[in-house]
Amino acid sequence: MLAAFLGFQLIRGVSPLLHTPLMSLTNAISAIAVVGAILLTGEKDASTLSRILGFSAVLLAVLNVVSGYLITDRMLKMFKKREPAKK
């Protein structure tokens, strides 16, 4: 609950300029689900079912983490670049 409140306060401060990178960042953050997936997959006596599901979940979440952070960074690089380029 506290996090939700904090989230609200934080997002308010973000200018619309950066909404897209913000969304892709929070997207990457939501891939924190990877934690749950790891717990599930890595258990000693996980059943086949939960291993398969967990495996796919780790895969999907890592995909999100990697591409999420990379793309956010790529976007932000563009935002930064032309500040010095400006006379």
Partner: protein, 467 residues
């Protein structure tokens, strides 16, 4: 286990703090990249901490999944063109949501077969997790399909649509509640999953391209909430915090989007637009318009002192942002002040236009927000509208019967001359005619945005050489 009791909570707490800082620093372009880096660190801490947990013993599968995810993820991030950002975001929502839905499913069966049986609060969280997860999965795939134009962008409506949707949702909710009360009803769980998947599909079908920014933000929120619910199931605080951050961020973005269109959530989701549209289209009649050639347009631009460019989705489709920047440079050299007015819902996701223009090296201090630029519109010599439609439609202010009545717009009509680059007279995604096109000071520039801008650029260069 000392490791689990002391180091782990510490790592998780640090990770949570990193995420909060990441979002905070995202607030300004100057610190945003630092935000990404701290976010990455947070994620690393969380993953390492989790891998160290004593109950995690089977590393083989995990690393294989890591490797595969990375191998697939990197090309997606590097190759993808910036115009495809909305699609990627939708796709990534689908992945994230599916991941948490799968975990929820696995947790359910695990609790059932191996015990301990989930308690009622756990089961509630689990149901919410899978509901939101599966729903967001198919809904995001649908959104992806629409954005990628694999599926028709126009809203698809049919009679009794809301009734069917609500019915399915109600059925899913009832089964969900039954499952919460008695988790042993194994048969019901697959039915529940199917209903959620189905509801996700049906939810997006009636939503048109113009509402995509809101929907994407909302799906972002769902994916986050789903992760948060997972945190309650697994009793993992980090998941709760990170999920809630994501959830609230998506939620507030969708509120901003809704406000920018003067519409309510229910209105967007239950697509009242579809019905109104038919009536609006019927009223259309042939009215005189003025059109102009690239040469004329270039002369007008050259003679202007202030030009406000209003980009929309059409610019993204035509990939015209680089040509636009060339024009911006040329005009800038000749002392014409060019600004860009960005409507909050221009494009297909929040902030879409900003990213595209940034990609083309337009300095971000030239990108102005709607409320900021509107008072200056009357002073502008030229308003150049590129592939935008509804966000400049004066009907929103003047015609109370218009479906978009009350939606805040960029007041392009106040400019001395309005130029609209558009492929044809077809109405925009909201399917509404735009009276702006029939004004005496409006010039219609028919053509592909990129091709047309190239012609203008050529003209400006020619004039420049002659002078």
């Amino acid at each position: 286990m000392t490791l689990d009791n002391t180091i782990l909570p510490l790592l998780y707490m640090l990770a949570a703090i990193s995420f909060i800082l990441a979002i905070k620093w995202m607030g300004s372009p100057a610190t945003a990249r630092r935000g990404v880096i701290i976010g990455e660190i947070g994620m690393l801490l969380a993953v390492v901490g989790t891998l160290l947990r004593f109950e995690v013993v089977n590393y083989g599968w995990i690393f294989l999944a890591f490797a595969l995810g990375t191998i697939i993820g990197i090309p997606i991030a590097v190759i993808m063109p910036m115009t495809a950002v909305p699609q990627r975001t939708a796709f990534s929502h689908a992945c994230g949501a599916l991941a948490s839905a799968l975990i929820g499913t696995a947790e359910y069966y695990k609790g059932l077969n191996q015990g301990p049986a989930p308690t009622t609060p756990e089961m509630t969280a689990l149901i919410i997790e899978t509901l939101l997860g599966f729903l967001t999965f198919t809904a995001s795939l649908m959104a992806f399909g629409k954005l990628q134009e694999v599926l028709p962008q126009r809203p698809i409506t049919y009679k009794g649509q809301n009734f069917v949707n609500l019915g399915i949702f109600a059925a899913a909710a009832i089964i969900g509640i039954v499952l919460i009360v008695s988790p042993g009803q194994v048969v019901l769980f697959p039915i529940f999953v199917i209903l959620c998947l189905l509801f996700g599909i049906l939810l997006i079908i009636p939503i048109g391209g113009a509402d995509m920014p809101t929907v994407i933000a909302l799906l972002n929120s769902y994916a986050g909430l789903s992760a948060s619910a997972m945190g309650f199931v697994l009793n993992n605080r980090l998941l709760i915090v990170a999920g809630a951050l994501d959830g609230s961020s998506g939620f507030i973005l969708s509120i901003i989007m809704c406000r920018a269109m003067n519409r309510s959530f229910t209105n967007v989701l239950f697509g009242a637009f579809g019905q109104l549209q038919v009536a609006a289209a019927g009223a259309q009649e042939a009215k005189p318009i003025h059109s102009a050639s690239p040469e004329e347009a270039a002369q007008i631009l050259d003679a202007a002192r202030t030009v406000v460019v209003i980009p929309g989705y059409g610019m993204a489709v035509a990939q015209a942002q680089h040509k636009l920047r060339e024009m911006f440079d040329l005009l800038g050299k000749r002392g014409v002040n060019v600004e860009f007015a960005i409507h909050p819902v221009a494009g297909r996701m929040p902030g879409h236009m900003n990213v595209l223009l940034a990609e083309a090296d337009v300095p971000y201090d030239k990108l102005r927000e709607m409320d900021d630029i509107n008072p200056e519109m009357a002073m502008a010599d030229v308003a150049l509208i590129i592939g935008a439609n509804d966000v400049v439609n004066p009907d929103a202010e003047n015609n109370p019967n218009s479906p978009i009545a009350g939606m805040p717009i960029i007041q392009a009509y106040k400019a001395r001359t309005v130029m609209v680059i558009k492929r044809s007279m077809n109405p925009g995604f909201a399917g509404i005619d735009n009276p702006l096109y029939y004004l005496d000071n409006t010039l219609m520039l028919f053509g592909d945005a990129k091709a047309f801008l190239s012609s203008i650029v050529k003209e400006l260069q020619a004039v420049g050489k002659a002078a």
